[in-house]
Point group: C2
Chain length 584, copies 2
Amino acid sequence: MMRTHTCGELRLKDTGKEIVLAGWVQKTRDLGGMTFVDIRDRYGITQIVFNQDEDIELCKNARKLGREYVVRIRGLVCERSNKNPEMPTGEIEIKAAKLDILNTSKVPPFTIEKTTDGGEDIRMKYRYLDLRRPDIKSNMELRYALSKACRSYLDAKGFIEIETPVLIKTTPEGARDFIVPSRLNQGEFYALPQSPQTFKQLLMVAGFDRYFQLVKCFRDEDLRADRQPEFTQIDCEMSFVDQEDVLNTFEGFIKHIFRTVKEIDLDDFPRMSYQEAMRLYGSDKPDIRFGMSIVDLSHQSKGKGFGIFDQADLVAGIVAPGAATWSRKQIDKLIDYIKTPQVGGQGLIWVKVNEDGSFKSSVDKFYNPDDLKLWQETMNAHPGDLLLLMSGNDLAVRRALGLLRLRLAAQLNLTDANDYQALWITDFPLVEWSEEDQRFVALHHPFTSPKKEDIPLMDTNPAQVKANAYDLVINGVEIGGGSIRIHERPLQEKMFSLLGFSDEEAKEKFGFLLGAFEYGAPPHGGIAFGFDRLCSMFGGTDSIRDYIAFPKNNAGRDTMLDAPSIADDKQLKELHLEIKKDHR
Amino acid sequence: MMRTHTCGELRLKDTGKEIVLAGWVQKTRDLGGMTFVDIRDRYGITQIVFNQDEDIELCKNARKLGREYVVRIRGLVCERSNKNPEMPTGEIEIKAAKLDILNTSKVPPFTIEKTTDGGEDIRMKYRYLDLRRPDIKSNMELRYALSKACRSYLDAKGFIEIETPVLIKTTPEGARDFIVPSRLNQGEFYALPQSPQTFKQLLMVAGFDRYFQLVKCFRDEDLRADRQPEFTQIDCEMSFVDQEDVLNTFEGFIKHIFRTVKEIDLDDFPRMSYQEAMRLYGSDKPDIRFGMSIVDLSHQSKGKGFGIFDQADLVAGIVAPGAATWSRKQIDKLIDYIKTPQVGGQGLIWVKVNEDGSFKSSVDKFYNPDDLKLWQETMNAHPGDLLLLMSGNDLAVRRALGLLRLRLAAQLNLTDANDYQALWITDFPLVEWSEEDQRFVALHHPFTSPKKEDIPLMDTNPAQVKANAYDLVINGVEIGGGSIRIHERPLQEKMFSLLGFSDEEAKEKFGFLLGAFEYGAPPHGGIAFGFDRLCSMFGGTDSIRDYIAFPKNNAGRDTMLDAPSIADDKQLKELHLEIKKDHR
């Protein structure tokens, strides 16, 4: 035994004990005849005191300790004269009798404290030091606590965790697969799973009734900020359920983990259809911690000679509460934002509802105070508010206003990070038209079932078909999504055909699933949650990277390992692969 | 809600309830006016009865049900007249009032029962049906129960589960890596981890103190029976520990899971050095449920004119208890076995110790009864026993006798499958000479620490250096292994150099670890257990495949998915890869 206690556990009641601690030097202070050394481990920090009068040699050695040295100290637990109520161990200190240096440390390339001087790049390269910082360390602890809360709820509800394979078959749908060359099957490749979707469905066919798995998934996408090529999913599936059963089970799940990990009791989750969410918030993942919903003003704004509005599909707006006092410059900034490619708007009409009831707007030429009063009333705005209107294509206007709404909420501090508002979005469209592929693509995935009453529309008007699909949204972030699946071969074939698969392709890629549906597939459905995203939401920050022990950067690189890297010729030869030279 | 109860939960006390069940048709029996249908789900089987006199239409429909149809039944819980005490639901039956066929089923390609007529190939192709069989289903349940027991012990001991990456860097040591081409980093490859070894060490450097993970690992090996290209490991690491701490912690772990999952209390695990295990059992994973240890007879057998023995490095033997009555044919079979390439022996000398105290041997020409009596005494054999002797190179003789010992134990029924005898094997050599590579290779891996007192031998006689390495063996199966690691850069560099790495190679491949060791790496060590193997040991069978939901066959193929498969040209083009044509 290298130590008798950890650096976080000694208390006043331990006074007088001979103990041994081990840990890292957090800091040292030299006060004349006394040297104080704080040593740290995962569990806490304990103060060690070296007294020159008692052992000059020992004290000399203590003075040589650098930051992050690894030490072992034997000593006596004593009551402190100047107690530190901020520290759990702050009532005691250790009078050192023996000091072993277990390892030295170079000066770390950044300070290992809550706020660090290290930039992202250097922290990633030395991730093992970054992980020593209290924030990142507690993120890992939070992640573990969350995983336990997830497992305990699902276990209590009769779910069984089953591991599905990582080396699977490449599929034509969804994002790009990572592929893995097979040496034993020359010229062939495995794929890494984007999700265990088909496996969990097969487990339902196999009769496991309730399955879950915390599982690594992979997507070879062009990485945007905060997307990782490998990520973790809480993957769940149930048999003999309808949509209501799944929503209730997983509303309970989310409530359980909030209660267990954050001691927060969430209210029941409202349900909102996709159509309603798009109409009111211009988004399928609305943040409902604040109102500011989108109001249709087409009727109240057309026919007054303002050509832009008159020709528009839709005129609509939102109310920025208390923003009537904003300067022209502030409003111009909003207009600039609206015109960014991300939002793609043409411009913004604004109306200030002054405190005295008068109006000032960018369309005073076309609309008189009575017109503007009607707008104010329709939008339920108050004196002091700022009305912001856009016009154009219905969906485009709503999307743009939805983004503007989020920006305003941030600017006006309308959201409280400690207020969690969850809701279910339901009734998603089954498919949407892809201009790029010139075919319909599945909004969720090809295994999502259409609403029974909409099945005939699959032949006549596919874009109108609604799916038994649902997303869980918390504070404007999509935390999970799922659906009731197709469980009958003919319907699955119809779906593949709608997505433009030939019968041969469908059989080649998903023959195993079509086959399974012929041997007694039960009705089933499920959901998957993004575990990394859930962790970052629980941790109260946006970056999922801070919740992954060894993340990759935006180029998909692990800069600590320096991976990916060159394969040696022997490896490529065994795999019968050649790297093509680029002749661009 | 599609059902009110599961097929396993109704009891006599539920009599009179209107219920709805859903499940698969296990079998139907037609008894004149009554039709009985057993329906099955994950939780059990319930008997449904259809009465022709009460509803002829319903009864007709019930008669059409085929095996594995998925049905929903509404009905009344009634007491059975002829109760079945074998079934938990055997005191009741459901008088059906309504029958919905939720899905039909083709006739399954093999019977879905405990003993099936399906061969391995067909069962793998239709794994979703194989998983319905009670044995395979309960294997998955056992696997989940074991995972829970593992996690609960490690959690209680302060271990924290941390996920390590799957897309990592290819390493030159150990087995062959699977590699994954990177699209964003042209010409470069990730590797899939053979174990999270370096990551868990970095987590110790990061200060996590106690880490574990149930984690998928990957090895691109030529597959022998019962090796899988992907497998699951229980991976653990601890800081500030010596070997004794690790052994005690994980002896507790193994005892806990046996107690929790099998209700078996294991005795304390004996410790045996590698050298002792090889000497007594010719194996580093001895089955100690029975004795039959190897006895050195060199002294008692040389110098009697029997050339083979006289020239041998070692003459040694084992005692087959009660086998003196074996026929010549039976003994010849043993000799055949000894000569198989797997054992690689030259032959076997046998001595029957007859019940009357006389001897009959294959070397009566060279040894008189007194000589044989001395052998009997040295080997502690009894009348009725058979002595089996081999000669040759010390290690080769012991290995061969070790294999013969196992074969005899099976033949003589010396082992009880329900008797679990665990032991620790310690003091493994650090390295061994590889004839193939013409260099020393690590017996465990390059991060294993040598015994402190043996470090000087690394320069002079590397094969003699003992490592702080240990294996856990139960009933002759290696269940886990680990070591105290090197935590100092100079020693790690010395080790790399001993393994024939140049400084440049060491830095290129393991620079991150060498770097980490310079920033306060604590002393640390750990262990990893093969989870698939552990499951099969708990389940009492040899095949790990039966404990994996979707295993691969010996060619590394998933025959259900038909993976691996051809990648399409677009995928290869994006990865800048070409498949080389084979010109053999």
